[in-house]
Amino acid sequence: MSDTQDSRTPGRAASVHGWLQPVPVAARFVLQGGPGALAAAAAALGLADPDAAGRTAGDDAVTILWLGPDERLLLSWREHAPALGARLAAALAAHAHSLVDITQRQVALRLTAPFAADLLNCGCPLDLDPASFPVGGGTRTLFNKTDIVLWRRGTEDFHIEVWRSFSDYLQRWLAESAQDFTRPAG
């Protein structure tokens, strides 16, 4: 990241705050295919496919996010891309599918704060009321001019995936907007 960021950016400053932290993700894949392929991949990971819009499934090794009827985002927390990719490819051999390593395409930020949902709503039009976007919900959405994938890990705890070259923009926006929530009143 050191080469992609200007040390003077508010984005850099934001990550110094406790509420926004970079998250290491060992591997990421986009898996696309029919229900058989999606179920086979989930089974190989010891999980059930989250076969419902905006839902996720996962454990401490892998998280599966439903991105579309035939599309899942797989986040691996420990196993790296070559080994996980080979394991999934073997499980998917009998199914028409597309499995693409996008580990480096995007980066992850974790936003943890009492004001997290309100801060996200400074740039994201999604209804983040827990009744509409509950803990465990995940979806592709927008933050102003960038695509993000948003996954609610807790009421005040969000995991954000963003394409790497848009990360600086996202962090600058969050840092700027956060002043409304972190600045002392008066």
Partner: protein
């Protein structure tokens, strides 16, 4: 109200504007009342006075007073119209919110941006991306820097950050059929590990995008797009995939930012790269022009493409984005003492123009067919269909008078034409002249020691050898029409 006296009827008076936003004049209000409208709400709707975004704040009282006088009523009896939002003025700052300065628009930087900064790059905006345009050394202006960079690539070796090119993985059992239906090319015979230059049309038959496509597996293609076309090509592909060709099991994934891409180009590119690729055989026999192979570069996983947008022996090193800077440093450490020269987009533009390689959006403008820009060879002749095929069969699309890509050589080799300049075939005309085409690309070529230009000219290929003229404020510039490949027309330098 402040109505000025004006001559009645006999001579037309000055224009008396009431509503400055909607250009409503006193005579419009008069006409409304002559037509029988009496209610101020009807007068408003007939004339649109007070209906602009200021909701009449700059106009309504003028209109009311005029209507009251003409209707012979006191102003309060005429009444006000219904106010709608915005009731109070809204500043532009409120609309802009935080979208200003650094966060007005995303600024995208490649993984090797910092390296380019340290090399003294001058950057240019390409879409949202910052791309290194040229690398001046002490005392260099852009012309001197570009000439030096061009010579380095033609005579030795240059290195270029090509990471911004769009990349899309097209995968699934239906991948070949999908590519055959979408691109003009025939993909069925492309072997695994080989590449082909792909041309994508819209359904109106006009060139939309281009790029090298590699077959990574029988059911998997690595498609590259132009930097600016990455998002719209993916959107077009998804549109066809989801709505037109639901019979195909094929899926699309953007990998633009998965890979950092380092182009190493020039006659010495192979000898420079060979010691770095951990024993991989990159000889001409093992890795010919338009081939791709997997390997490692100093231990970094790599997809190595033997491709060239310069006309020289060339490679594009693809490594995972987080290791792009490390890979470039390794190449730089090995090559800097050997004359390896960083080059930017400006040099890339000159080198490709010397070879007659088009740039989408510069040499094309959404109205050129593959044949217009000399790419008819790319069309798979035996394919039953592809996007744009039917449009290409229409008579106007096959006319020999269409504007075609040609080269231009100015009679005075020092004169560099203006891009966008118009062309005429009959000198000495007064405006309006009969314009037959325009210059699309124009550069001083250090390689050729003279200026070169690409242009689209009506019936251009039949005019090769003719003299045309570029009318400019300082006089007409005579140019000779030539084939659009100025350097190494047989491609001997590519296949080494």
């Amino acid at each position: 109200m402040g109505r000025l006296p004006r001559a009645e009827a006999a001579v037309p008076g000055p224009k008396a504007f009431v509503d400055f936003q909607h250009d409503v004049m006193l005579k419009d209000l008069d006409l409304a009342m002559r037509e029988g409208f009496r209610s101020i709400e009807h007068i408003k709707r007939y004339t649109t006075t007070g209906m602009a975004t200021d909701q009449g704040k700059t106009s309504n009282l003028n209109a009311l007073h005029h209507a009251a006088r003409e209707l012979g009523k006191p102003v309060p009896a005429v009444g006000l119209t219904t106010f709608r939002m915005p009731y109070t003025p809204v500043t532009f700052a409120s609309f802009a919110g935080q979208a200003r300065g650094e966060i007005f628009d995303p600024v995208r930087r490649t993984p090797m941006h910092g390296w380019a900064v340290r090399q003294g790059a001058v950057f240019e905006d390409v879409g949202m991306w910052k791309r290194a345009r040229y690398f001046p050394r002490a005392g260099d202006d852009m012309h001197a820097a570009v000439a030096r960079e061009c010579r380095a690539v033609r005579e030795g070796c240059g290195v270029f950050d090509a990471s911004t090119l769009g990349k899309i993985v097209v995968a699934g059992p239906g991948a070949t059929a999908f590519m055959d239906r979408l691109y003009v090319n025939d993909w069925s015979k492309l072997a695994v590990g080989r590449c082909k230059y792909g041309v994508l049309l819209r359904d109106d038959g006009f060139v939309y995008d281009d790029g090298v496509v590699a077959r990574l597996a029988p059911d998997r293609f690595h498609v590259t797009t132009t930097t600016g076309g990455a998002a719209r090509v993916l959107a077009m592909m998804e549109d066809y995939r989801q709505t037109e060709w639901t019979d195909l099991d094929v899926w699309l994934t953007s990998t633009t930012e998965q890979w950092a891409v380092i182009a190493v180009q020039g006659p010495r590119a192979r000898e420079l790269l060979a010691p770095l690729v951990d024993g991989l055989d990159i000889s001409a026999a093992a890795l010919p022009h338009m081939a791709v192979v997997h390997g490692t570069l100093r231990g970094i996983p790599m997809m190595l493409f033997r491709v060239s947008f310069t006309g020289e022996l060339g490679f594009e090193v693809n490594v995972p984005s987080d290791r792009g800077a490390e890979a470039l440093e390794a190449i730089w450490a090995a090559g800097a003492s050997q004359g390896l020269t960083p080059y930017g987009t400006e040099t890339m533009h000159v080198l490709r123009a010397e070879k007659g390689f088009i740039i989408i959006g510069q040499d094309t403008d959404g109205t050129v067919t593959p044949d217009d820009v000399g790419l008819a060879w790319a069309i798979g002749k035996s394919k039953p269909d592809f996007v744009g095929k039917r449009a290409l069969a229409r008579p106007s699309m096959r006319s020999p008078d269409r504007k075609q890509l040609v080269g231009l050589l100015t009679r005075d080799p020092r004169v560099v034409l203006e891009e966008g300049a118009q062309l005429v075939d009959v000198p000495g005309q007064s405006p309006p002249m009969k314009l037959i085409g325009h210059v699309t690309s124009s550069y001083a070529s250090a390689t050729l020691g003279r200026s070169i230009a690409l242009a689209v000219v009506a019936g251009g290929r039949a005019r090769i050898g003719q003299t045309l003229y570029v009318p400019m404020p300082g006089g007409e510039i005579p140019v000779e029409v030539c084939a659009p490949v100025f350097y190494d027309p047989k491609g001997a330098r590519l296949n080494v």
